[in-house]
């Protein structure tokens, strides 16, 4: 860090007005009604010192590389299962495992092009991995545009403090899209304005020069992906960035009811004629049950110790862990591996003794269904509220881009909870975001 004293950004309202002006919104459904909300920005940045970031960066590169190798292995030779590192049940019962992807090799062997890895900083100063998001994690566009605007609104802050410029995200993304492109243009598939990530899709399309497309203007012919043009012609697409779930992506291979997919996209993908960002079948690697094994994966594939720690996790599947979980259930957080998103997460401390006892039985009966974690006491961050500062829970989503090389974006999305008691930092639940400054 060049300066010990960090100049604060004080003109929060001005920046929030600018964000409004530039249409930085996300869509939410409330009581069946669609609303576009502005995503409130808090001007006090999360600051990560250069040395600390170097450690985080190497830990994230290692993690994303190992996860990519794991995905390749699972859909091909399955050595990690044969060698007994990951029990096969954890892989094949995962809803993210797609047998339709067996033997299919994505361009350049890359499965997770954009890995969104959620971390928290513990009160002990140590960073812990909370979860991996390998199915097109969203959110990078918010700090990206916020930085553009804060630089304009508070130039002094940036001239006085040495802050790594984070506006290379579009370049990183474009490099990745170009690297895996199979011939044709890059395109970003969006379900449209009523999708929560619509701002992100349109902004990233603008910055990367990719075409913003919807499914009804795309079709597969000769096992290649095309966009219809208004003159009755067609333009080939070589890389497709998409956020819709695998199960809806191709109604002729997956869910036949899907109206948002592209029929026969799987044929084009399997034939190696289009890169899909992120690839299909990634859900098996960011599963709650698989999370436990990521440090082991790093050792197995890379021959290195994991640099970043997982939150301490126990698998009742293993007898030793099961005993610990049964004994300490009251202070653990229990997650149902079959449930997605925030569902199936229970804090032992919230349960009555009676409920705890029945939960213990459930765990003994179905040990594979659950993982248990220590509750991490993570560091609160200051946010501005009613003119003063209050402390709130916040996490950090780091973005790792895998292309010719694996690169970590020197920034990230710091989300905070508005509710002082809440551990849930989610934009659709009224939270906000901060910029994340990596210092020079």
């Amino acid at each position: 860090m060049k300066n010990q004293q960090i100049l604060p950004i004080t003109n929060a309202d001005e920046i929030n007005n600018l964000l409004r002006r530039y249409g930085v919104k996300f869509g939410v459904y409330k009581n069946g009604q669609f609303k576009e909300q502005f995503f409130p920005f808090d001007p006090i940045p999360r600051i990560i010192e250069a040395e600390k970031f170097k450690v985080i960066e190497s830990g994230l590169v290692q993690r994303a590389d190992a996860l990519n190798k794991f995905l390749f292995d699972i859909y091909h030779k399955k050595n990690i299962i044969r060698d007994g590192i990951v029990p096969e049940d954890f892989v094949y019962i995962s809803s993210g495992y797609l047998p339709q992807c067996e033997g299919v090799t994505p361009p350049e062997n890359i499965y997770s092009h954009i890995s969104g890895i959620d971390l928290v900083e513990g009160k002990d100063g140590e960073w812990y991995i909370l979860e991996d998001n390998l199915r097109i994690p969203s959110g990078a566009s918010y700090p990206l545009i916020a930085r553009e605007l804060t630089r304009a609104a508070s130039p002094d802050v940036f001239s006085e403090n040495g802050i790594v410029d984070n506006r290379n995200y579009a370049k990183l993304l474009k490099d990745t899209m170009d690297f895996v492109n199979r011939g044709g243009i890059n395109a970003i598939l969006t379900p449209g304005r009523y999708n929560a990530a619509y701002f992100e899709h349109s902004y990233l399309a603008e910055l990367t020069g990719a075409a913003l497309v919807q499914n009804d203007e795309l079709f597969v012919e000769d096992n290649m992906l095309w966009q219809k043009t208004y003159s009755g012609g067609k333009t080939r697409i070589g890389t497709l960035y998409r956020r819709i779930s695998d199960e809806y992506l191709d109604p002729l291979t997956f869910n036949p009811q899907s109206l948002i997919g592209i029929p026969n996209l799987m044929e084009a993908y399997r034939s190696g004629n289009v890169a899909i960002i992120n690839s299909l079948g990634n859900g098996v690697a960011d599963d709650k049950g698989i999370y436990y094994f990521v440090p082991k994966m790093i050792e197995y594939y890379l021959g290195e110790k994991a640099i970043l720690k997982n939150a301490p996790t126990y698998l009742p599947f293993y007898e030793e862990d099961r005993e610990y979980v049964i004994k300490n259930i009251h202070k653990l957080v229990i997650k149902d591996v079959a449930e997605a998103g925030g569902y199936g997460v229970v804090f032992g401390s919230d349960l009555s003794e009676e409920k705890l006892e029945s939960f213990r039985q459930t765990i003994i009966n179905e040990p594979r269904r659950f993982i248990a974690q220590e509750v991490i006491d993570f560091k609160d961050l200051p946010i501005l509220e009613n003119g003063g500062q209050v402390m709130r829970k916040a996490d950090l989503r780091a973005f790792v881009l895998s292309g010719e090389t694996t690169r970590v974006w020197a920034s990230g999305l710091t989300r905070f909870s508005r509710n002082p008691d809440s551990f849930v930092v989610n934009s659709s639940q009224g939270g906000g975001f901060k910029d994340t400054w990596v210092m020079l």
Partner: protein, 260 residues
């Protein structure tokens, strides 16, 4: 070894024009250790360029796209195959051990499994499968028109009625509960004038066919068109199209005969 002549045709007619029609056919018989395709010809009308690939389960997929307006899609295959069950198939996939969309059991089916599995003294997977199939053939009545292509094993078991597809699905549910990998087969059988379905049981190193609807072993009178976890992986034709049509009519004809 036996030589079989096969033919299969589908006529799909729409009651109004459709366009932007994308389809994927899984009707070109699989080439495997036990099944060699000597020749096979495919015709699709209206004329459309197609591409063939092999999917993860080993099925031949014929994909095409008809942009222009049309009112029908006909396709047919004709060919000759050599079936030799002395050379077994060994193409294993782990997913065949786990429940799938159509074969996820419910409590009823699990209870039923628990009830019959204790009575089964056989040890070898195929023998256990034969035991289950014997029980099913007494319990489930073969009846057309009560189930359709969306019927799951749970629903068919509830009805205690169904067609070959339903017999296969219930068997797969039971075998997978019994920790025996097994898979769904769609194909043609000499004894059946229509498309048929049966299953294959993994005995540890190879697949062995079993026809639960007829409660008999699979011999060289069976031609495999496609295979997978359940019907969902094996549908002979899937398509998405646009237009004002309200219904489609599908006519299927098929034949499988010993070649002399």
């Amino acid at each position: 070894m036996k030589t079989l002549n096969f033919s299969f045709a589908t006529k799909l007619t729409f009651d109004n024009y459709v366009h932007s029609h994308c389809f994927a056919l899984r009707c070109l018989p699989i080439e495997s250790n036990s099944q060699h395709i000597v020749n096979c010809e495919m015709n699709i009308s209206p004329f459309v360029p197609t591409k063939n690939t092999v999917d993860a389960f080993g099925n031949n997929v014929t994909a095409g796209y008809i942009g222009k307006e049309h009112r029908f899609l006909d396709f047919e295959i004709n060919g000759c195959a050599e079936i030799d069950l002395s050379k077994p198939k060994t193409d294993y996939m782990p997913c065949y051990l786990y429940p799938s969309e159509y074969t996820k059991p419910d409590k009823n089916l699990v209870d039923f499994y628990n009830e019959i599995s204790v009575k089964c003294n056989a040890e070898k997977p195929y023998e256990r499968a034969v035991f289950f199939s014997d029980i099913l053939s007494d319990l489930i009545r073969y009846e057309k028109g009560v189930t359709d292509t969306k019927t799951t094993s749970v629903q068919a078991f509830e009805l205690k009625k169904g067609v070959c597809q339903d017999f296969s699905h219930i068997m797969l549910s039971l075998l997978r509960l019994d920790k025996i990998p097994s898979r769904y087969i769609a194909g043609l059988a000499v004894c059946d004038g229509e498309t048929h379905s049966w299953i294959e049981v993994w005995d540890g190193e190879k697949w062995i066919g079993l026809d639960p609807a007829n409660n008999c072993p699979v011999n060289e009178d069976y031609l495999v068109l496609s295979q997978g976890r359940d019907f969902g992986d094996c549908s002979i034709d899937r398509g998405v199209m646009f237009g004002a049509y309200t219904k489609q009519l599908q006519l299927i004809t098929s034949s499988l005969k010993t070649a002399y």
